[in-house]
C-alpha cells in the first residue's frame, strides 16, 4: 500500500480508531480519559500535595497544636511565604506557640521543604486544589485558624504517612519516658550509692577493713 496519499489515509485510520474508541474504550481508559469534573472527581494519589497545613492533636486546635513557633520553616521556605510570630504569656515572656502563623498561598509553590525541615512533625502538605478568592491578596493568605487541621484529617488524606508520623512521635515519647525513667533510676541509684557509701563509711568507722 504505497500510492500517493496512502500515508494520509493510514493517519486517518488512526484518527477514526480514536474517535470510535473514545465511545467504547471507557473502561480501559485507553482512548477516552476525560473526567466530567466537577461531577466526577479525580482520586488523588496519597502523595499528592498542594499547600501546607498545621496538624493538631485531639479536638482543640489551640491546645493540640504541635507547632512550637521555632521558625525553621519560615527560614527554609524558598519563596518565603510563611510568617510566624511567637506567642507570649501574660507576663510578656515568649512561649512555644505561634501567635500568628500565615501562609501566602499565592506565593507558596508547594515544594514541601517546610515539611521536610519541620522537626516537630507539625506542618504537613494538604491536597486541596480548589482555592479561590475575590481578590489577589487577602483571601489567599491563610491564617492560623484556616491552617489548623486535625490529625484525623491528616490520617484521612495520607494514611500511610500519618501512621508513620504517629509511630515516630510515639517512639520519641517512649524514648523520652525511658530516658526520664533511666534518669530517675540513675538519680535513685546515685542516692542509693551515696546512702550505701555513707552506710559503709559508718561501718568502716565501727569496724576496721579487712585486707583481701
Amino acid at each position: 500500500m504505497n500510492f500517493p496519499g496512502s500515508g494520509i489515509i493510514k493517519g486517518m485510520a488512526v484518527t477514526a480508531l480514536n474517535i470510535v474508541g473514545s465511545y467504547f474504550d471507557r473502561a480501559h481508559a485507553k482512548r477516552l480519559i476525560t473526567e466530567q469534573y466537577p461531577e466526577e472527581r479525580p482520586k488523588l494519589a496519597e502523595a499528592s500535595r498542594s499547600f501546607p497545613f498545621l496538624v493538631f492533636d485531639g479536638d482543640d486546635p489551640e491546645k493540640g497544636i504541635r507547632c512550637v513557633a521555632c521558625k525553621i520553616c519560615e527560614k527554609e521556605c524558598p519563596p518565603q511565604c510563611i510568617y510566624i510570630v511567637k506567642d507570649t504569656d501574660a507576663n510578656g515572656k515568649p512561649i512555644m506557640r505561634p501567635k500568628v502563623f500565615d501562609i501566602d498561598i499565592s506565593v507558596c509553590m508547594g515544594c514541601q521543604i517546610c515539611v521536610e525541615s519541620c522537626p516537630f512533625e507539625s506542618i504537613r502538605m494538604d491536597n486541596i486544589y480548589e482555592v479561590s478568592g475575590y481578590d489577589r491578596f487577602a483571601p489567599l493568605v491563610l491564617h492560623k485558624p484556616q491552617l489548623l487541621k486535625s490529625n484525623a484529617y491528616y490520617h484521612g488524606i495520607r494514611p500511610t504517612e500519618a501512621a508513620a508520623t504517629d509511630a515516630r512521635i510515639e517512639a520519641a515519647r517512649l524514648r523520652k519516658e525511658a530516658a526520664a525513667k533511666a534518669a530517675a533510676a540513675k538519680v535513685a541509684a546515685a542516692k542509693a550509692a551515696a546512702a550505701a557509701k555513707a552506710a559503709g563509711e559508718k561501718a568502716a568507722e565501727t569496724k576496721p577493713t579487712q585486707p583481701e
Binding site: 518565603q80 510568617y83 501562609i103 501566602d104 491578596f137
Partner: protein, 184 residues
C-alpha cells in the same frame, strides 16, 4: 576516554605559544576542575589554539558564565571536545576592574555558541566582550541600567504588597504601607 588534564593542556600551550600568559588556577573543590586563567590580551589566540590543536580539539564551548569578584569580573568558559570526547577544560579570563575597564575579548568568533551566553554575561554582569558581533542586552530590556547579578546590585523598592514580610522587607513593607493597597 582518558581524562584530559589542565596541566597537559597548559604544557601544550606553553610549547606552542610560549609568549601567551596562561596560568593554572587551583580549584580546592573535590570536583578537581582546575582552571586555565588566560590574560585577556592573549585570550583569542589561546582559544584558537585550543580549538584547532589536533591533540586537544576543544571544538565545543558548552557553557559561558560570568562571575563577580570584589576586584574584577571573570568570564568562565567550559570547553569540551566532541571529536575527542574529553573535557571539561575550564578557561577563564578576567577584566581589569569592575568599572571602566570591565572588558574581555569576545570568543564568539571562535565558538559561535558563546554568542548568546556572552550577551547574557554582558547583560547581567556588565562584562563588555570586545569584538562581539552583536553585543546587546539579552534578557533585560534595553533601557535597563544596572547589572542585576552583580553582588552590589540594589533591587528597586517597588514592593506592592507583602503579607508575609521577612528581614529587610519588613521595613520596606512598612514604608509601602504608608500608601496601603486599596482593599476590595
Amino acid at each position: 576516554m582518558s581524562p584530559l588534564l589542565p596541566q597537559t593542556v597548559l604544557d601544550r600551550l606553553h610549547a606552542a605559544l610560549p609568549q601567551a600568559r596562561v596560568e593554572l588556577v587551583n580549584n580546592p573543590s573535590p570536583s578537581g576542575q582546575h582552571a586555565l586563567l588566560v590574560h585577556r590580551e592573549d585570550a583569542v589566540q589561546v582559544a584558537e589554539f585550543l580549538k584547532n590543536d589536533p591533540e586537544l580539539l576543544l571544538d565545543y564551548a558548552s557553557d559561558v558564565s560570568g562571575v563577580d569578584y570584589p576586584e574584577y569580573l571573570e568570564a568562565v568558559y567550559h570547553l569540551f571536545s566532541i571529536a575527542k570526547k574529553h573535557g571539561p577544560i575550564v578557561l577563564k579570563t578576567r577584566t581589569g576592574d569592575r568599572g571602566a575597564d570591565a572588558s574581555v575579548p569576545s570568543l564568539t568568533r571562535v565558538w559561535k555558541s558563546a554568542d548568546f551566553q556572552e550577551r547574557e554575561a554582558f547583560d547581567l554582569f556588565g562584562i563588555r566582550f570586545e569584538g562581539h558581533p552583536d553585543l546587546r542586552r539579552l534578557l533585560m530590556w534595553e533601557e535597563f541600567e544596572d547589572f542585576p547579578l552583580r553582588k552590589d546590585y540594589v533591587a528597586p523598592n517597588d514592593c506592592e504588597y507583602e503579607p508575609t514580610p521577612h528581614g529587610d522587607i519588613v521595613q520596606k513593607a512598612a514604608a509601602a504601607s504608608a500608601s496601603p493597597v486599596p482593599q476590595a
